[in-house]
Amino acid sequence: MIKIVFFAALREQLNCSQLSLPANGITTVNQLKSALIEHQAIWQPYIENQSLLSAVNHQMVNGEHMIKAGDEVAFFPPVTGG
């Protein structure tokens, strides 16, 4: 399984903070995004938002980054701390 977490505005838009999906056939962050849209069609505009950031195991990564079972993948808007 892959653990997926959402934060901030995205968490509210999806009305979901965390879920798990089977790792079967998912090898990149972009493939995981497609799997999320398959899982919930109404998430599409939010998941495809160009400004969305992603992190795998607490490291920011891009869409081609490889993922595997057991990883924690996070999606969130640009950060605004400080």
Binding site: F7, A9, H58, V79, T80, G81
Partner: protein, 161 residues
């Protein structure tokens, strides 16, 4: 305690993500304690402003990504230590609900020569702004609004590369 353990402890103490407020005086006192080598201390403190993009703000909620927050700040601090000759470092970031005027963030750095502490402090703030997973939601006269990221912040971080 082994040297390695002491170094690990020091590192853990450099970052604090907390709901509670902090005391500038206490933080600086810790940075200076038993530290006669470093003659310079530079601090940055950020507070909740009463306005943003023209709208009156009455309060702020800060959300973060526990775990990734600490590791991203640790990476930023380590990069600063590689680039400049600095002594002690402390980064505090508050989360949860904050009122106008409350302290949000603190960066304190000691060094032998002031230039290093100034540069490293600004570097850490610039990268905290664009890399550390915090998000602000403002309570304004028009209701709750997630703050949008500013291009000027990305530009500042890019100037260091």
């Amino acid at each position: 305690m082994s040297k390695e353990l002491m170094a690990n402890n020091a590192m853990l103490n450099e970052i604090s993500i907390q709901h509670l407020d902090f005391s500038l005086a206490e933080e600086v006192a810790l940075l200076e304690k038993d530290n006669e080598d470093d003659g310079a201390v530079v601090t940055f403190t950020g507070r909740v402003r009463n306005k943003n993009q023209g709208l009156a703000v009455t309060a702020l909620t800060l959300e973060h990504y526990p775990g990734m927050t600490e590791s991203s700040l640790e990476q930023i601090i380590n990069e600063a230590k590689k680039r400049w000759d600095i002594g002690r470092v402390k980064v505090i970031h508050r989360v949860g609900r904050l009122a106008i005027g409350e302290q949000i963030v603190f960066v304190g750095i000691t060094s032998r020569h002031r230039r290093d502490a100034f540069a490293a402090n600004e570097f850490i703030m610039d990268f905290l702004k664009v890399k550390a997973p915090f998000w602000k939601k403002e309570l304004t006269e028009e209701g709750e609004k997630w703050l949008s990221a500013k291009n000027s912040d990305s530009d500042k971080a890019e100037q260091w590369s």
